[in-house]
Amino acid sequence: MSILLEASTRVIVQGVTGREGTFHTEQMQAMGTKVVGGTSPGKGGSTHLGVAVFNTVADAVKATGAEASGIFVPPPFAPDAIMEAAAAGITLIVCITEGIAIQDMIKVKDFLRGYPAARLIGANCPGLITPGAAKIGIIPQNITSRGPVGLVSRSGTLTYEVASALSASGMGQSTIVGIGGDPVLGLTFKDVVELFEQDPATTHLVVIGEIGGSDEEHAAELLARGSRLKTVAFISGRTAPEGKRMGHAGAIISGNRGTAKGKEEAFRKAGVAVAETTDEIVGLLR
């Protein structure tokens, strides 16, 4: 099995006629993702890549029964696209767009409280893939393979690298979820770990974190309460310089949280193996 996304999930692509939308929709189709439609205001009624194009997500949902959406639109329009998807009843929203203004995302997060069934992945993320079944986003399917390892990560290419290494050593993946690197985002590590915990097909878990924020710590707290998954964590950015800081507001809010050291300790306390380099992950997971 898998989490969030299956071969039968009905997917639309917002911004399907754009350059990025076209390229990645083709990739998604190539691995068998059930793409049932796309949106592009003003192009409703036409067909693109063999799928029906609609003016709005509401129209697309009405016509196709879509449950999931991949968003490939530029940053000024992506926040609206997320809200449109939620309001139209989409329950899995994957926003690839990088560079969305933080205040826009804060508004989007508040908007989504009105749609508790809608799960957002991203923005600024590679999306998710259930190997051999379907993907929404840009994770290259050729480096993935089916198996029992759940993988959740804040980083894009680091995810690819780890997935690739897992596949090369015969450890396939149930689902790979790139939750994205923005400070204000949709599903967090904790949310995704909870889903993996409930997925019988997932027996192992890799968490790839990063400095900043407390999301890794929250996931570690969850795992500390007891987990059936064999888990390895990796945190990047131990030597990254602290941003040249200005003003105290950020420091007052975040205090000492968010360091690589703190995150690694949190995982160790939870009984989770911590890899010091990505090369170590596969070995620790066996």
Binding site: Q27, P76, G99, I100, A101, I102, Q103, D104, M105, I106, K107, K109, D110, I138, I139, P140, I143, S153, R154, S155, G156, T157, L158, T159, Y160, E161, S164, A165, G181, P183, L185, I208, E210, I211, G212, G213, S214, D215, F234, S236, G237, R238, T239, A240, P241, K244, M246, G247, H248, A249, G250, A251, I252, I253, S254, G255, E276, T277, T278, D279
Partner: protein
């Protein structure tokens, strides 16, 4: 985008907040003139970092001559890596009390937070640690903004109830920095209550979200380019790269922020020091690789370059070909180690070897190699 104090104050004033009279001076003469006009002033270095007072970047001047001398000392000074481009000459306030008022994004709450404390002044971080309850907080709904009753509660929670009206007004004005400027941090510390009861911004910090600059082109035009930042960062920005200068000697290129950060970690682990952080993004196109190499090679401290690239949709063999041509175009002489993984990594590594570029067997191996190669040359 971080604004300098005088820029932030200009912006606060445009939002309706009172600021002390002040003038920018780019030369000692201008500082003397400002003092003639304003009377006794503080001559303040304009740099986008805290701690300038301790670094000698603020001097009081009672006369134009004193102002001239102070400016001569301060302009051009280096404060935490920033060369001071100009000073701000500002009249002193008749301080009754100092309040802390800040606005920032609370990443964990995924929300903006307003903070108010009666214990204003430079030691607010210590206050936050020792008596966090003395900093009152409000998380305004992002669509509604702070409501009147929420502001009243905030002000009373901070023990500043007797100033409820003027403070609520200032907080509303500061909050406008969010809808109007996409501020990610806006801070007034101290917010001064003068002895005759006026509420005036004693200092100001303002940082605007880089991702929202498309909504604020005027800001970029108005305030961009005042500061002489790191020359490599300036060049990288022109070329559209995500680049941060560091103080080591090994140039780093990675595709993806996480991969790039983990490469820095590996270099340090192997005993080396990175000269930069340079994320060329997911695609790893030949042109972008060439731009990144060009910027890194501008820095004379750099003794070698480590590139860590994952070939995903862009295949490893294509990445390798692009990299070879970039090196050749730039006539690069320094050691270059490349760690290539992902799709068609084998073919990629073969192409690199054929062209005399050292491929790393793993990221760790590559890090050890570049550290060794740069150490040998030292």
């Amino acid at each position: 985008m971080k604004l300098l104090e005088y820029q932030a104050k200009e912006v606060l004033a445009s939002l309706g907040i009172a600021i002390p009279p002040g003038k920018v001076a780019r030369t000692p003469e201008e500082a003397a003139a400002a003092c003639s006009e304003l009377g006794p002033v503080a001559v303040k270095a304009q740099v986008p970092v805290g701690g300038r007072g301790k670094a000698g970047g603020i001097k009081l001047a009672g006369t134009p001559d004193e102002a001239r001398a102070a400016a001569a000392q301060i302009i051009g000074m280096d404060i935490k890596g920033f060369k001071v481009p100009l000073v701000y000459c500002e009249t002193a306030l008749d301080i009754g009390r100092e309040i802390y008022l800040g606005l920032t994004v609370d990443r964990d709450a995924r929300a903006n937070v307003l903070m108010l404390s009666a214990k204003g002044g430079i030691d607010i971080e210590q206050v936050a640690e020792e008596s966090p309850e003395s900093i009152a907080r409000l998380y305004p709904n992002p669509w509604r903004g702070p409501l009147d009753f929420e502001l009243t509660q905030l002000v009373f929670d901070a023990g500043l109830g007797e100033l409820a009206r003027p403070l609520a007004a200032v907080i509303n004005q500061l909050y406008r920095a969010i809808p109007e400027l996409d501020a990610v941090t806006a801070e007034i510390n101290p917010l001064v209550v003068t002895k005759n009861g006026e509420v005036i911004a004693g200092d100001a910090k303002l940082e605007v979200d880089e991702n929202a600059m498309w909504r604020h082109k005027d800001l970029e035009q108005r305030y961009g380019g005042v500061l002489e930042g790191d020359p490599y960062e300036v060049e990288a920005k022109k070329r559209g790269l995500t680049y941060v200068s560091l103080d080591g000697d090994i140039g780093i290129i990675g595709n993806g922020a996480g991969l790039c950060m983990s490469t820095l970690d590996l270099v340090q682990r192997a005993g080396g020091r990175a000269a930069n952080f340079c994320d060329i993004g997911g695609g790893a196109k030949a042109e972008v690789v060439e731009n990144a190499l060009a910027v890194i090679l501008m820095n004379p401290r750099v003794r070698g370059v480590l590139m860590n690239v994952f070939g995903g949709i862009t295949r490893g063999d294509e990445v390798a070909k692009g990299l070879v041509s970039a090196r050749d175009n730039l006539k690069m002489q320094l050691p270059l180690v490349v760690r290539l993984s992902g799709t068609r990594a084998e073919e990629g590594r073969r192409i690199l070897k054929e062209n005399g570029i050292e491929p790393g067997a793993s990221a760790w191996d590559a890090a050890e190699k570049i550290v060794e190669l740069t150490r040998v040359r030292a």
